[in-house]
Subunit: 349 residues, 2 copies
């Protein structure tokens, strides 16, 4: 029931996705009457769907604290289905803050994970790039950054199908002494970990569009700003090009002549192709679709969830986590191991 075009867009998108995943089964949470009417348009998809009536829905502008109290809202019941093991994952186009808060509270965190992170895929000069965290955690320590690298690695393997994705840690410069204690300590841990062969070191803002690494790890504050800066700049340039090509008759003709290439460029930058931000680090798959997307975009978000489920994302996460030593909170290099003990293994907790 969430997003600008719900529930029409959601059902239409689900129908598209259902064609591509005929072995999947879907639970739809929302207004029974409206969902039933919509499903009549998509016979094949309807056969794969079960509708669960929910009397409430979380509004787009509702604060997370208020959303947490609506225990019979469609988003809440869908998340409950994941927490209870009835569903493998949830896809929502609704209120992001509410989805983040509900998922964190209702679905358990994976053993060894301090804080879940939000990840998404975007285009770059050298292919698709995974970036995280995109805003789930505004403040992060070295431990969180290391865990994000583990999650990003598994996500790039699972959803992009890469065998040894390269990983970069976002910083203000590429030299080892750059940045703050947090990023330097996380880099030290990664250089000593099983991810060392894939760890590229520090990357900078321009490396996002350049695609220098397959995975870009950063804290939620910086990641959120960088993602929105990237999207905003792309949008600005698209708008300016539209102006240029409608500024005169000869420019319009020029557009027609260059159209095949320009259309490919537009398609390549199409935000719908990248729809579906993922919450990683939970015992279940949680995908957030953009609220303003269309059916094709929503279907893509379902594809992402299906990829994660089919490729056993969380099993692979557990494997990765058991292989890495994460720095403990507050343990700067100056502190050193206390009482003669080194940092504990994440898997031992």
């Amino acid at each position: 029931m969430g997003g600008d075009g719900a529930p029409e867009i959601v059902v239409a998108g689900l129908a598209l996705a259902a064609e591509r995943h005929p072995s999947a089964r879907f639970l739809l949470f929302g207004d029974e009457t409206r969902l039933g009417q919509l499903l009549r348009r998509y016979r094949r998809a309807a056969a794969l769907c079960a509708v669960r009536h929910t009397p409430e829905a979380i509004a787009g502008d509702m604060k997370p604290t208020a959303a947490l109290r609506l225990r019979r809202a469609s988003m809440r019941l869908a998340i409950d289905a994941v927490a209870g093991g009835e569903a493998a994952g949830v896809v929502s186009a609704g209120n992001t803050g509410a989805l983040l808060a509900l998922a964190k509270i209702v679905i358990k965190t994976l053993p060894g994970i301090d804080r879940p992170a939000m990840a998404a895929i975007g285009p770059s000069e050298r292919g698709d790039v995974v970036m995280l965290d995109l805003g789930a955690n505004v403040a992060c320590d070295a431990r969180n950054l290391v865990e994000f690298a583990v999650m990003g690695d598994v996500f790039a393997r699972t959803v992009l199908g890469l065998t040894g994705p390269t990983i970069g840690l976002l910083n203000v410069g590429s030299e080892e002494m750059k940045g703050d204690e947090r990023v330097r300590q996380a880099a030290d841990v990664l250089r000593e970990s099983y991810l060392a062969p894939q760890f590229h070191g520090f990357v900078e803002g321009h490396d996002i569009a350049a695609g220098t690494t397959d995975v870009i790890v950063t804290d939620g504050f910086t990641g959120n700003v960088a993602l929105k800066t990237f999207e905003g700049t792309g949008k600005l340039v698209r708008g300016l090009l539209r102006q240029v090509f409608s500024s005169s008759w000869s420019a319009r003709l020029g557009y027609l002549l260059a159209r095949p290439g320009l259309d490919r460029l537009r398609e390549w930058m199409d935000p719908r192709r990248y729809n579906g931000a993922v919450m990683l680090g939970l015992s279940g798959v949680v995908v957030k679709s953009h609220g303003g997307t269309d059916a094709a975009g929503f279907a893509h978000a379902v594809d992402v969830a299906m990829d994660m489920v089919e490729h056993r994302f969380n099993d692979r996460m557990r494997e990765g986590l058991s292989r890495i030593m994460v720095p403990q909170p507050g343990m700067g290099p100056a502190d050193g191991p206390r009482n003669g003990h080194g940092p504990r293994l994440a898997a031992a907790r």
Copy 2:
């Protein structure tokens, strides 16, 4: 002597700038013989220049700690001239880290300023935008952010000629409860300050390209990443468009037909027009030119320095600082004023 094309580009750029600022006088620090030869090409500029021979130069890859020891390097002596009051400002295309470190140590900080910040101007949908800090301070507290707002306001008035520039604080969302304590506290102070009528509140990454506010305030880590993301995305799109327009004969013809508009767009995005990052908060004007720029770009960096000197940037900074109450380090709203004293006035320190 710094930058990819030094000293040729620097002298050629200075000559361009000297034509526009005939009442200025310039001190050139570097190799006397080479500078003398180059100046012979530019008679009018040469009449405004005095050359100071320096036997050393700071290499582009030299660490700031090593650069600090070269007391007779061209960059060092130019900064000494500002600190000693002989020059009103310095423009350099050399090693950024060294320039930042030397300027901070040799030139005094303005009274009331905790930490200087790096600012630059960039294009947006609604006109030029000032952003700071761009990397001088990787960690900032609320006090620093408030001071950056004061500096950004004066800079936008001085260099962009705006009368009441709007100011935004970069955050992960625009609602008041978003972000961390740091940005929320800085926003609280700004809402109560003389800048309140200009303070727009929180802005997000996409507001940089949209030009939602004239000034964007953020910490040096986020600002550096956002600036480089913005530049990198622009560069990616320029490269892709070049590919599109050379992909076929009809696309080439299309380019020719749309050329006037496309050329205007390229000119508008031209990084040379925005060359010259400024270090604010020091008792002297310090401008960093991009190391890879050409003469026109270097001349623009000189223009920025001249604007700041001619419009008495630092006098106006002192006025602004005397009017604002800045939060003291560690004074979160939960702490409250200690010993019955409120936060001290910046001007009282």
